[in-house]
């Protein structure tokens, strides 16, 4: 057995036990218990429920993983992995067998004590042939789950995966009480800091703080939390401006100035892994020619996209999906906007000019059509004539994405490199939206498998660096920009100095991490 060291910090054993020490030293001094936060969130639906398998948007993620339920592990605001219901974990040398020690003395909201059975039954929810869980690919490699102690679980994987503890922090993988899962899903019974006091799907959720919790002193400062479903951008902003909610997610950039002008409102902005993309199908002409792909990569003005599409709320990306919230993001030499280079590569492909369709719709991201038109304008000088095809938003993901040779798309990003690559760049996976496989680059695919089982951090950094370079130079996805998470709260609410950038609203954990100032 080897102890795993991630992010240069020993996150296991005693280190995870002192959450506060590894997290944010300032927090403990400023934060205090008491008061209530009311949050206006988008992404709510009348079909919302407490089944983690169905969760996909910020509203239910914040309410479930962010308040009512816990997972085995948690990604802290600084990106490090800390224990939640697990205290520490160990891997075998080949990263195939993982042993998790579970926290003792934890009880569910209905009084049931937490133990290894709960973990095994909860994870099993996502397994099986016809499960529709969003976390199915994460738990599929688990070939065996064993209870090795009242508070210890052992997972055996089909192949080594050094990121396995990270995967356990996924928001789908909530821990329910064994034997009472249906009841727990119906009523929302978890081990989280807040228990459900009222839940109207698509309207409102109110949680009250449990009396004592293992995170006491580290998180969970509010006595009461209320999440109001406000899907309309303007209504959400109005609610914040009139003080009816203390915080909102997803600021509309066009009206951001109004919020900025108000001294009692603070805008919070972090760059994470969310990126907007233009995937090309690399198995279809002309995109099967790497020179055509390169011509297109040099034909886009990335800074202009950040300025005009994101209104500056983002960062230029260089065709690699690994972003600032990842551990091994490589400092790639940027791809400049260079029509001459673009023309050169077009000539290498034996072409003087190129006529191609680019499909876009607001389903991909809000101003995807505008972005496609910017692309059209910037590629024109190199002899690339892009015909922007505006597709209907309905059915976009079924009828256009991975169907049309070139389209617009977005990814919210993943916590680890392997997770991102194995979702969208591994040979044969369903979401491989550029049909990127070993015919395009065999080295990439073999590195992907090799790096997954590698426990040595330095070697992984080097491998992931090489993979990012390959994607930048040869990859089939044009990724011009990372889009920031932009949210706002009023001065009544205090927040830690460091805000999570993996997902909006402090990784959807504002109910745990923020407080009444």
């Amino acid at each position: 057995m080897t102890r795993i060291s991630r992010r240069g910090l020993l996150r296991t054993g005693a280190a995870a036990g002192v959450l506060a020490a590894t997290g944010l030293p300032l927090r403990a001094q400023q934060a205090q218990r008491g008061g209530k936060i009311t949050v206006g969130l988008s992404g709510a639906n009348t079909s919302d429920n407490w089944d983690g398998r169905t969760h996909s948007d910020v509203y239910m993620i914040s309410a479930a993983q962010g308040a009512v339920f816990d997972s085995l592990t948690e990604v802290a605001a600084d990106g490090s992995l800390v224990g939640e219901l697990a205290t520490d974990w160990e891997a075998s040398a080949d990263a195939k067998v993982w042993t998790f020690n579970l926290r003792q003395g934890v009880t569910f909201h209905n009084g049931k004590p937490f133990n290894a059975d709960d973990v095994m039954e909860s994870i099993a929810l996502h397994q099986g042939e016809d499960t529709k869980s969003g976390a199915k690919p994460l738990v599929e490699p688990i070939v065996e789950m064993k209870k090795t102690g009242e508070h210890q679980v052992q997972f055996t994987l089909a192949a080594g995966n050094a990121d396995f503890p990270y995967l356990m922090s996924d928001y789908h993988l909530l821990i329910y009480p064994a034997g009472q899962i249906e009841e727990a899903i119906a009523q929302g019974i978890g081990t989280g800091l807040y228990q459900v006091s009222s839940f109207e799907p698509g309207v409102r959720f109110v949680g009250t703080r449990v009396d004592s919790h293992y995170k006491d002193g580290d998180a969970g400062w509010f006595d009461e939390i209320e999440f109001i479903a406000i899907n309309d951008n303007t209504a959400r902003m109005n609610a914040l401006l009139t003080g009816q909610v203390d915080a909102i997610n997803r600021i509309d950039f066009k009206t951001e100035q109004l919020l900025k002008a108000n001294p009692s409102i603070l805008i919070q902005e972090v760059t994470g892994n969310q990126h907007y993309t233009f995937p090309m199908l690399t198995n279809i002409a002309p995109f099967d020619d790497v020179n055509v792909r390169r011509a297109l990569k040099y034909g886009v003005n990335r800074q202009e996209m950040v300025d005009k599409i994101l209104f500056g709320h983002g960062q230029v990306a260089n065709d690699s999906p690994i972003g600032p919230a990842n551990q091994y993001m490589a400092e790639l030499d940027p791809i400049p906007y260079d029509p001459d280079q673009s023309k050169y590569y077009l000539k290498q492909a034996g072409l003087d000019s190129l006529n191609i369709d680019l499909s876009a719709s607001s389903a991909a991201f809000e101003s995807a059509v505008d972005a496609a038109q910017l692309y059209q304008a910037s590629a024109a000088p190199s002899g690339i004539n892009i015909n922007v095809v505006q597709e209907p938003a309905d059915g976009y993901w079924s009828n256009v994405w991975i169907k049309k040779p070139w389209c617009a798309c977005y990814w919210s990003g993943r916590a680890t490199e392997d997770w991102m690559f194995s979702s969208a760049y591994e040979e044969g996976v369903p979401w491989n939206d550029s049909q990127w496989d070993s015919d395009d680059n065999a080295r990439f695919q073999s590195l992907l498998v090799e790096a997954r089982a590698e426990l040595d951090s330095a070697k992984r950094r080097q491998m992931y660096g090489e993979m990012q370079t390959i994607l930048r130079d040869d990859g089939g996805v044009v990724i011009p920009m990372f889009a920031n998470w932009v949210q706002a709260h009023n001065t009544r609410i205090g927040t830690p100095d460091q805000i999570g950038n993996l997902w909006q609203m402090d990784n959807s954990r504002m109910a745990e991490r923020w407080w009444v100032a």
């Binding site: 398998r53 009222s198 109005n238 401006l241 009139t242 909610v245 309905d394 993901w397 009828n399 979401w431």
Partner: protein
């Protein structure tokens, strides 16, 4: 009175036929929209296998007529069915009987909220509009009459969301009297509920006033030229009394008709206002359901909307008959 009963019977039968036709139209229309429930719910994760799995579980792979017939036959037994979203959730737990929330249970509380908003609005708007109409008929062509007309026409000509934001600006942002969010929920006190409902109710009042007010004014002015009104004036009765006592009863029929149409609008047409004020009514549910192609909920909402129109129109006819002795006692 038998004629009234006969009319009611005929109208109810016609109403049922109308509902049937509407259900066919809606089912066909939703079916023709691009994408279906499986694709809408899965979004970016819509792999062919996942789409097929959901379609199979919900019976969406059946032919169109089979699906319509099974919906219709359930419907005739008074079962509005289970929304696709809930049924899909039930297949997650692998226990179909746990499906719990039926369409009825989903729509019930939302519809109550919508009725509450419509009720509050009607209580403000109807007396206000009719009163304004009577006064502008009384002082017709005066500055007051013109002012009232300009006000009513301006508000009906502006889009609802614009009126809503103007009211929010003046009553919630600049003078924080009323809350801009109307998220009422179960267990809320009546006082607070009214306070939260007031802004959307005022917005809707502005929208529906013009129609009712101008109809009242026109109907009364029309009657003021009749000989019996002239007789009343010659007797020396005060103008206000002439209008309220002599003209208004005869003008009631058209006014009631307009009021009924506007009440129906308050139930069916409040989608935009509900979204702006985050009011948990049936309109928001309807929009959500159309978005994810949840046909059982869409159908149920449409039938409720259609039934509201049919019933309110029927009531308008009945009241006009009752208000008119000549119709009550036909020769």
């Amino acid at each position: 009175m038998s004629s009234v009963a006969k009319i009611i019977g005929q109208r109810l039968l016609l109403g049922l036929l109308t509902l049937f036709v509407i259900s066919v139209i809606i089912f066909t229309a939703v079916n023709m929209l691009p994408g279906d429930f499986a694709q809408a719910v899965l979004g970016q994760g819509a792999t062919p296998e996942a789409v097929a799995a959901i379609r199979r579980d919900l019976g969406l792979d059946q032919p169109f007529l089979v699906r319509y017939w099974s919906w219709l036959s359930d419907m005739l037994r008074g079962d509005l069915g289970t929304s696709f979203a809930q049924a899909n959730f039930a297949t997650f737990t692998g226990n179909e009987s746990q499906a719990g929330a039926t369409v009825m249970a989903q729509i019930g509380p939302r519809f109550e909220n919508t009725l509450f908003l419509a009720g509050v609005t009607a209580m403000i708007a109807v007396p206000f509009a009719v009163g304004l109409g009577i006064l502008s008929a009384l002082f017709r062509n005066s500055a007051f009459d013109k002012g009232a007309n300009v006000f009513a026409l301006t508000s009906i000509s502006s889009p609802e969301f614009f009126l809503a934001y103007v009211l929010i600006l003046f009553l919630a942002v600049l003078n924080p009297i009323l809350p801009s969010l109307s998220n009422i929920y179960e267990g809320m006190g009546m006082g607070e509920r009214l306070q939260r409902t007031l802004l959307p109710a005022l917005t809707l009042t502005l929208v529906v006033t013009a129609h009712m007010m101008r109809m009242t004014r026109a109907a009364i002015i029309n009657l003021l030229a009749s000989p019996y009104i002239e007789m009343a004036r010659l007797k020396g009765i005060k103008p206000m009394r002439v209008i309220v006592r002599h003209a208004l009863p005869n003008a009631l029929a058209p006014i009631i008709n307009v009021i009924a149409i506007n009440l129906a609008y308050l139930i069916t047409g409040v989608v935009v206002v509900e979204v702006v004020f985050v009011y948990p009514g049936i309109g928001q549910l309807f929009v959500d359901s159309v978005k994810i192609r949840d046909i059982p909920v869409v159908q149920a909402c449409c039938l409720i909307f259609a039934a509201a129109y049919i019933l309110l129109n029927l009531m308008a006819d009945i009241f006009s008959i009752l208000s008119n002795p000549r119709l009550r006692h036909p020769k």
